[in-house]
């Protein structure tokens, strides 16, 4: 029986994280990263954290979800409400609200996932998209039940206390969680279900259990990312969580290369920065072209690299190695996911 050595590569990841963190602190104190770019950096980390959630659901376990932004939004609203009503800037309540955001998104994912995860590929995508639209409509009308959410005008007044260190820590935790889970027995079961559900079932893997776990975990990550979002951006608005935003997460995961976590991280951060760099480069008079360039980039990238930018590639430190010795290091797997 081979065992997975989870600590291999871990020091490297942590070292890199530390280097990144210190570099950010230095550049920040030198004002090279100003307020605006810090905002974008935080946003990119928040979005990538949620995208790692979708990477678990779709990239690892092969479950096509088009409703990821709904769970991101559920986390944002839950945590935002808790902080707004009872927190008043209290850091303990803030941390508690992060947990609550993740828990609520995960719980809703469990309830909706149990019935709909029986559906396959496109049908699952359509059902999750429908669910996302339902959630968005409910957010639009939520002020009828809870006034503080503001309904269609959006929720303001959430204390803005999520700073870079906590955002980065959550991001790092998400990366490590996904990395370690992938080669745990659950991770192997995900791969099995993704490649062939019937065969996995025949080998004694319980597909429902495995798929539900991936869905709940992935959505909980979206929830915690949403919770951070609510504490970093002054307005929590239903339109930030509609099905077009779900497409953003899907685009990040697919363009990164399905099943490649390095790919998800690179495209997640890159995608957010691309949009902002375009804003800076194009200037006011050409701002209208931003959407066009964004869309063209998307089509061109997917035509030139249909499997994603980093498909089949993985930064070695993100793959816990198998022992005993003598085994070649695990190669990045080439996922064979049909949508």
């Amino acid at each position: 029986m081979k065992r997975t050595n989870l600590t291999a590569g871990l020091p490297l990841v942590l070292l890199l994280a530390l280097v990144f963190f210190v570099a950010r602190e230095v550049l920040g104190s030198l004002e090279i990263i100003n307020y605006y770019w810090q905002l974008i950096l935080d946003q990119s980390l928040i979005i990538t954290t949620a995208a790692i959630g979708l990477s678990i659901i779709y990239g690892f376990a092969g479950q096509f979800s088009l409703g990821h932004a709904a769970f991101f939004g559920l986390g944002a609203y839950t945590a935002g409400l808790i902080s707004k009503l009872w927190g008043h800037g209290n850091y303990g309540v803030f941390l508690l609200s992060l947990v609550a955001g993740a828990a609520l998104a995960g719980a809703v994912a469990f309830l909706i996932g149990l019935p709909i995860l029986r559906l396959r590929s496109d049908y699952l995508g359509i059902a999750t998209m429908g669910f996302g639209i339902i959630v968005k409509v409910l957010m639009d009308n939520s002020n009828k039940w809870i006034t503080a959410t503001g309904g269609a005008t959006g929720m303001t007044g959430v204390p803005q206390i999520a700073k870079f260190p906590v955002i980065f820590s959550v991001f790092l935790l998400a990366v490590l969680l996904a990395r370690n889970l992938r080669l745990s027995s659950f991770g192997r079961a995900w791969t099995a279900v993704r490649e062939d559900e019937v065969a996995a079932d025949a080998m004694g893997v319980d597909p429902t259990r495995v798929k539900t776990l991936a869905f709940v975990l992935g959505c909980a990550l979206a929830g915690v990312a949403g919770a951070l979002y609510a504490h970093r951006y002054p307005i929590v608005h239903p339109s930030s969580f509609d099905f077009l935003k779900s497409f953003d997460f899907l685009i990040i995961v697919v363009l990164g290369g399905l099943g490649s976590m390095s790919g998800t991280i690179v495209t997640g951060v890159g995608w957010v920065f691309l949009l902002e760099v375009l804003r800076a480069v194009l200037g006011q008079s050409f701002l209208d072209f931003r959407g066009v360039i964004y869309a063209l980039t998307l089509v061109l990238v997917v035509i030139l690299r249909p499997k994603g930018l980093l498909s089949g590639m993985e930064w070695q430190a993100l793959i816990p190695r198998r022992v005993p010795e003598g085994n070649p290091p695990a190669k990045g797997e080439t996922p064979n996911v049909s949508a």
Binding site: I116, G130, D196, I251, D288, G291, L296, S338
Partner: protein, 294 residues
């Protein structure tokens, strides 16, 4: 009661427009298994071309409609050729992402000032609206025109698909690409033909929609597109009668839930029904349950 009948008639009008869009979704899905997210935007372009050709070029309405259908048919073929054909043998998710990209491209491209512009435009009525009062039940000439146009187009489509040689080839390709190719069918040409047909129908739908609900903007295709797509899934995606049935149901759900339950919650109601139907019968109301490919 009479109020309810009037609402059902409104629902019928909306459902007929949805049917025109849903057919394009279902034919394309049937033939290349792609959710063509750009289809709702072709619908938008159709509405805009009719608007521009009547308002700016002063063409009569009965020329503007076929012109718009023709241009959109060409647009559909171009989209398929440039954005989907290169990905035909890649994983299906790649074509889906490409479709999302094309959809955004048409929306943002259309919002550019020298294309359609970002603002809402009010569509002038191509003919004066006449309301007939049949003992309380009110019927407008727009409803009649929508009904007649849709019935003619659907009859035409039914003829093309069921009675012509090309239609037979379409059905063959949707059944099995490779076997169809072995029978001497030009698969690429048939796929282009399918996109042309679907896009032309969507354009007609766009024009009718803009006559019935006279306000257009470059993002107007998103919700009707989604609803029509939902209708196609509801009826059984890949099935032409299914798409029509699903669209008629979706039109009623939309109008009746807005009238009697809550206009804010109507989208939520429509998609709740979709999820429930999927759970009970994933292949849709009239869809065939094919063996799952493993």
């Amino acid at each position: 009661m009479i109020e309810a009948i009037n609402q059902v008639l409104n629902g019928l009008q909306l459902g007929l427009v949805y049917a025109l869009i849903a057919l394009g979704y279902t034919m394309v899905y049937g033939i290349i298994r792609l959710i063509n997210f750009a289809h709702g935007d072709v619908f938008m372009v159709g509405a805009f071309i009719a608007f521009i050709s009547t308002v700016n070029w002063h063409l009569p309405f009965y020329i503007a409609v076929p012109l718009s259908m023709l241009i959109c048919a060409a647009l559909g073929v171009i989209i398929e050729r440039l954005a989907y054909r290169p990905l035909r043998y890649a994983a299906r998710i790649a074509a889906l992402i490409s479709a999302i990209g094309v959809s955004l491209l048409i929306e943002y491209g259309g919002s550019l000032k020298f294309v359609f512009g970002p603002n809402y435009r009010v569509v002038p009525q191509p003919f004066s609206v006449v309301q007939w009062d049949l003992s309380g039940i009110s019927v407008s000439n727009i409803q009649v025109i929508v009904l007649v146009t849709v019935v003619i187009l659907l009859a035409g489509l039914q003829y093309l698909v069921a009675r012509t040689k090309t239609g037979k080839a379409m059905r063959a390709v949707s059944f099995d690409h490779d076997a169809a190719r072995l029978m001497g069918i030009n698969v690429d040409a048939i796929i282009s033909y399918t996109f042309a047909l679907g896009s032309a129908l969507a354009a007609a739908g766009g024009v009718l929609y803009s006559v019935a609900y006279p306000q257009i903007n470059p993002f107007m295709g998103i919700m009707p597109g989604l609803k029509a797509f939902t209708a196609a899934v509801l009826g059984g995606i890949g099935s032409i009668p299914g798409a029509m049935l699903g669209a008629l149901i979706m039109g009623q759900v939309d109008v009746l839930s807005a009238a009697y339950i809550s206009s804010q919650l109507r989208d939520a109601i429509a998609f709740t029904i979709l999820i429930l139907v999927l759970l009970v019968k994933p292949s849709g109301l009239l869809g065939k349950t094919g063996p799952e490919k493993v």
